[in-house]
Each structure stands twice: as structure tokens, then as C-alpha cells.
Amino acid sequence: MSSTSFERRRRRAGLLFVAPAAIVLLAILAYPIVESFILSTQSVRLVAGGVTKEWNSFANYIRLAGDETFRRAVVNTMIFSFGEVALVVSIGLAVALLLNHPLGRWGFFRIMLVVPWAIAPVANAVLWKWILNSNYGILNGLLKSLGLIEYYQVWLARPWSAFGFLLLIDVWKSVPFIALLLLAGLQRVPQSLYKAAYMDGAGRWQAFRHVTLPTMRSALAIAVVLQTIWSLRVFEIIFVLTRGGPADATVLMNFLAYRVTFNFLDIGYGAAIANIIFALTFLLAITYVWLMQPRKRRISS
């Protein structure tokens, strides 16, 4: 009896301690999410010196289905995310392997590696804007001096070229973090496994395939999920370099949500697009949390 009463008091005290954090989380996370969902079910307009909201059920979501620009943004986002995750994780893994090699353990390499990741996103976009400039860009100058191109190229003029360069820029910026994440995973692979594999006559490739990769499965999965989430948030390079052009070829869902909400002031429809991105991100976040659970609990669940 008394132990039950003690448990109850203990739980109440625990709730009281947690309450401030829970209230803050509800205010800064739950409220905007709920408000955004409500907005997406309304037609929102700036009229008569204020904002008028009219309930329109799921009309904004239905409109998405018939919107060619949205469909294009979805396809672009899928291609971009898939390409980015594949490139970032494979390049990141290669870099991590190099850094894990005795010759790559000099701290200078790691500092150099972090530079692209540490540059402010907009500064990074402006930097690449000048690198790719069709008249003064260093890329044109370099390729021409090497004799690889005869004339200066307009890298952002053609849809696939512009898309490809945006992908390249974001890969360049994202590789460092993923490489460091995978390096941490690599350093957790027990050396005894490599010794055992060596004793069994395994070569380098076999050791990589049958020891390194299986042991790093969790780290790789986390890298894939995190990078997918980040690829859905790409905005600043599109805003600075292409504004979604040429002819909407580089419009991703995140940029479209911004454009519809703030440029067109179609706030309800913009919220609907943002909620689709949120739902995707939320699913990925659940996957991430699940992957972060200790392996035993994950298997039992």
C-alpha cells in the first residue's frame, strides 16, 4: 500500500519535472505541426487588412494531384534524393576508409575534410555560382586550360546540366559529415575480426565485404536515413543558383513549398506541400530512431 503511494508520488514528481520541457516541446514542435495541418485544409488569403481563412476540406491536397509543377517537383525530389544518398554514402565511405588508413590519420586531412561542411549554406551557394559562371567561372577556365572544352560552357542553362550541378554541389557539401560518421563506425570494427579473416586467408576485398560492411550496417543505415532527410531540405543552392529554372527543371518540393507560400501567398496550398514533406521526413525520422535503438531491442521488436 505504502509502496504504491510512494510510486504514485514518485511518478507525479517525475511528471512535474518533465512538464516544463514537455510544454516547450509542445509549443515549438506540436503547435506549428498542428497549425500547419489546419492551414492546409483552408483557403488562406490576405484581404481587408488581415488574413481570412476558409475551410476547404482537403481541396488543397486534391489540387496537388492535378498540379503539373508539383508532380515535376516530386519526381525531381525523388531523383535528387536517390542520387544524393547513393553518391554521398559511397563517396563518404571511400573517404572514411582512406582516413582510417594509417597514412590518412593525420589531423590535417580531417580539418580539410570538414571545410565544405562548415561553410555557411548561402556562402557555399554563392561560391558555386561564381565557380560555374559562364563568363568568368573557374571551372570553365580550368577545363579550357586543360584542353577539355573548346568554348566556355553555360553549365546552368540546360535542365539536366543544371540539375546535375545542383546535385554535385550538395554532394560536395554533404560528404564530410557522412564520412566522419562512417569513420566513427569503421573505428568500432574490432581488429580481431580482420585478424581472424586474415588467418582464414581472406584478401582485402573479402575482408571489406565480409567484415567491414556487415559490421558497419547500422552506421550505413543511419547515414542513408540522415542523408535522405537532409536531401529533402535542400533550398539555398536552388534559390541562389537557379530559382528552380531553367523552366522549372530544378524545382524540388521544398523550394516549391517556399515559392507557393511566400511568393504566391497561397498559404493553404503551400502548407499542403510542406505537410507532404513533413510526412516523408517524419517517416524517415521514425526509421532513424528505430535504427538508433540497441540491436537486441530492435530484433525483439
Binding site: 488562406v44 490576405l46 484581404v47 481587408a48 487588412g49 488581415g50 488574413v51 559562371n133 559562364s134 563568363n135 568568368y136 553555360v154 553549365w155 546552368l156 542553362a157 540546360r158 535542365p159 543544371a162 541562389v240 543558383l241 537557379t242 530559382r243 529554372g245 531553367p246 523552366a247 522549372d248 515559392r259 511566400f262 511568393n263 504566391f264 501567398l265 497561397d266 498559404i267
Partner: protein, 429 residues
């Protein structure tokens, strides 16, 4: 008596401060002082910033504040952020400004603005081009005063034209195409533009709107429905496509801002460009220009219906929530004072709007462009702003980009653009 620093004392002190801050005007200045402060929202230099923010008429500005017992608090952001900042401020009900810069957004933000132009002195209004009020008028009410005459005109490199044996600038579309072709040589292009951003004033669609008026077309019928899927609309786009083939810098489709294209002209890598008057002053600065003394300007080449342009529509407006509309209006009158307008032109390169100042000998001597822009203003220069301007110009501009890239013919692109514009207008209801 000593005050010991304990946790209890710290908590008590914090609670007392918190309670005091909840009292009305707990930490604010006296109401009277607050009321005499005018909040002004506008662009940062080098875009058209007001006196006291840009380097001109600082002493006069201080004198005006002293004479009117007013303080002016500027809230300035980079030009590309202006629209979105205003939109979010209005949507959240927290637009604290008395005076606001507007650029073609008057129809969009109409319900947040105060129509004040009828209260301006008659001699001031009479000294401004009547057509300058068209982009700040909506539903019959005039909400803004344009403060700089900013029309697209043709900037050209005299040296390049002379080298090619072309004495005078192109007068019509045929000459424009021929010049572009002949000037495309020696590693440079005949023409450059910024077609990278489809939307907004200065975006791809707005350039086409200038050609549209030159071809005798218009964007909208009397009832507000789109009326540009016509021979003129197609001819205007075909002209842009032909100009592209004749020798437009291929990078034009990737230049998202006017500065990207302007840099090409100022480096001497292109010979002609449709540009705004503000560009004149930087073009004469050897620090950033390789064409100092080589640049000239003319009215835009005439299409089948003559020459025409578009309006940059830089205007001052007054917010509906202002506490002192009269003082806000007086501040705008100060911005439009002839002496301030003259300094604006001479010190910043942004032309005045007042006709008397545009005709001032000092202004014309320093900025020969003034006369050209005045000539251009004798012809149509409608920017066709509506509440959906951004969305419509995005849709039209994207179709124009497709045509410029050869994905569609001019006729197909214009037909699709009109369909999209009709749907946008229908949604507005």
C-alpha cells in the same frame, strides 16, 4: 546594508523583473516619444534606399526630422527579401511600419495600404508623369508615389557599334536582330539579358511584356481576363527567340539577377542590354566597369506598334496601421522634394520622378540617360501588375523559358501560358 547573492535573492529579483515587464509600458519609452517615431521599411543600398540610409541628403534629412519633431527608424533589407518579409509581416499581423517601399505589389497588398495620393500637394502630383501612378493604383484608388523613374531602356557599347560600322543604335526589331548578329564576334555577344528568374519585375516574363507592348499587344482584356494569346503575344516571344539565335549570350538563361547580366555588359563581353537607369552610375565607375565612357543609351527598338517598355515601379506607400498618416505622408513629400530628388539622382544614380528635376540641366549633364528615359516615358510602359502578378509572371516566364530552350514553339508556349494564367485568375475568383 549589504545584499547577499543567494539563489533565493536571485529568484526573487527575477520574479520582480518579470512582473514589472508585464506592466503596461513596463520597459518601453514614454508613449509620446514612441508616437513621434516613423517606421520605414525599404531596400538596402545600392537599391533605391531613402535619404539617411543611402549616402545622400543626410543633412536635409536631419533637418526635416528636427523641424517635424519626428524620428525615423529604418528597417532595411536586401531587395530580394522585401516581398517575402512584407508578406509574412502582413500575414502574421505584425507589420509595424508607417511607410513602406513597394514594387509592383500594390494590388497584392492593397488591403494593408492607405490611399494617400489625393492628399499630396497638387503641384507635386502635377510634376510627376501621370502614367507613373498606373502601377500603384488598384480599384480606382492611388496607394503609392513612385520616387524614381525606372524604365527599361537599351544600353549599348558605342565602341562595339563603331567597330562594326553601326553608327546609331537599333531603331526597330529588324535592326535589333541585325545588330545583335553583327555584334556577336571576337568572343563577345551582341546582346545579354537575365532570363534565369521567370517571375517578378525584371524577370523573364517582364522582358516579354516589353516586347508584347512593342508588338501592340496587352496582357489583359477589360474584364481582367488574359488577352495575350494573340499574334502580338506570339510575335513578342518569337522576337526573343530570334534574338537568342542571332547572338544573345547563351548564359542569359542562367542569369537569375540583373547584376549577373550587367556584369557581362560592363566587362565588355556583350554589346547591348535592356537595363534599368540605376546601372548608369556603376557603369561609369572604373573600379567595376571596363566600359567607362563607352556606354550609351537609347529608347528600346520599336516593334510593329512602336517602342514600349516596362516600369520598375519603385514606390513609397503608407501602411493602413500607421498611427500618424499625416506625418508619414509628409515624410514621403520630403522624399519627393525637388532638392532631395536632385541629390538622389546625382549622388546615387537613381533618377528622380519629378519632371522638373528630370529636366534639370545639372541632372541631364551628369546623367545623359535622364533624357532617354524621359523619351521612353512618352511611350507605353505598363508592367501589368495584379494581385497575382508573381504567380502569373512565374507561369508565363516558365513557358517563355521553355520556348527559349526550344522545348516549345512560341505559339505553343503562349497558348499554354494563357491557359495557366486563366486558371490562376479563376482561383482568385
Amino acid at each position: 546594508m549589504s545584499l547577499k547573492l543567494t539563489r533565493r535573492n536571485a529568484l526573487t529579483g527575477a520574479a520582480a523583473l518579470g512582473a514589472a515587464s508585464l506592466l503596461p509600458n513596463g520597459f518601453s519609452r514614454p508613449a509620446a516619444a514612441q508616437d513621434s517615431t516613423l517606421g520605414v521599411f525599404g531596400p538596402l543600398p545600392p537599391d533605391p534606399a531613402p535619404p539617411g540610409a543611402a549616402k545622400f541628403a543626410g543633412a536635409e534629412f536631419d533637418a526635416w526630422k528636427a523641424a517635424n519633431g519626428a524620428d525615423v527608424k529604418y528597417d532595411l533589407v536586401a531587395w530580394p527579401q522585401l516581398h517575402d518579409r512584407m508578406a509574412t509581416a502582413f500575414a502574421s499581423g505584425s507589420a509595424p511600419w508607417d511607410v513602406m517601399y513597394n514594387c509592383g505589389w500594390v494590388p497584392e497588398f492593397e488591403s494593408f495600404l492607405l490611399p494617400f495620393v489625393d492628399d499630396l500637394p497638387k503641384e507635386l502630383v502635377d510634376d510627376m508623369p501621370g502614367s507613373s501612378f498606373s502601377t500603384v493604383t488598384w480599384n480606382g484608388k492611388r496607394y503609392g508615389a513612385i520616387f524614381t523613374l525606372s524604365l527599361l531602356t537599351l544600353f549599348y557599347n558605342k565602341e562595339h557599334l563603331d567597330e562594326a560600322g553601326l553608327g546609331a543604335p537599333p531603331k526597330d526589331w529588324d535592326e535589333f536582330l541585325r545588330y545583335t548578329k553583327e555584334l556577336t564576334r571576337d568572343g563577345r555577344y551582341g546582346f545579354v539579358s537575365n532570363y534565369g528568374d521567370p517571375a517578378g519585375i525584371g524577370g523573364t516574363a517582364s522582358y516579354w511584356m516589353a516586347f508584347l507592348q512593342q508588338a501592340g499587344g496587352t496582357m489583359y482584356a477589360e474584364d481582367g481576363s488574359p488577352a495575350f494569346n494573340t499574334e502580338a503575344g506570339v510575335a513578342a516571344l518569337q522576337m526573343m527567340i530570334d534574338l537568342q539565335a542571332a547572338g544573345t549570350d547563351p548564359g542569359s538563361i542562367s542569369y537569375v539577377g540583373i547584376n549577373d547580366a550587367t556584369n557581362v555588359l560592363l566587362s565588355g563581353r556583350a554589346s547591348m542590354m535592356m537595363n534599368w537607369p540605376f546601372m548608369w552610375k556603376p557603369a561609369q565607375d572604373p573600379k567595376g566597369s571596363q566600359v567607362v565612357g563607352k556606354l550609351a543609351a537609347s529608347v528600346l527598338p520599336a516593334g510593329p506598334a512602336g517602342t514600349a517598355s516596362i516600369d520598375g515601379t519603385d514606390a513609397w506607400t503608407i501602411g493602413k496601421s500607421t498611427k500618424d498618416a499625416e506625418k508619414a505622408r509628409k515624410l514621403i513629400e520630403f522624399y519627393l522634394d525637388p532638392a532631395i530628388q536632385k541629390k538622389q539622382a546625382l549622388d546615387t544614380g537613381w533618377l528622380p520622378i519629378r519632371l522638373s528635376v528630370l529636366n534639370d540641366p545639372d541632372v541631364q549633364a551628369t546623367m545623359p540617360l535622364a533624357k532617354v528615359v524621359l523619351d521612353q516615358a512618352q511611350h507605353p510602359y505598363d508592367s501589368f501588375v495584379t494581385p497575382d502578378y508573381n504567380e502569373i509572371s512565374q507561369a508565363v516566364g516558365t513557358e517563355i523559358q521553355k520556348a527559349l530552350q526550344g522545348q516549345k514553339t512560341a505559339a505553343e508556349a503562349i497558348a499554354e501560358a494563357e491557359t495557366l494564367a486563366s486558371a490562376i485568375i479563376a482561383r482568385r475568383g
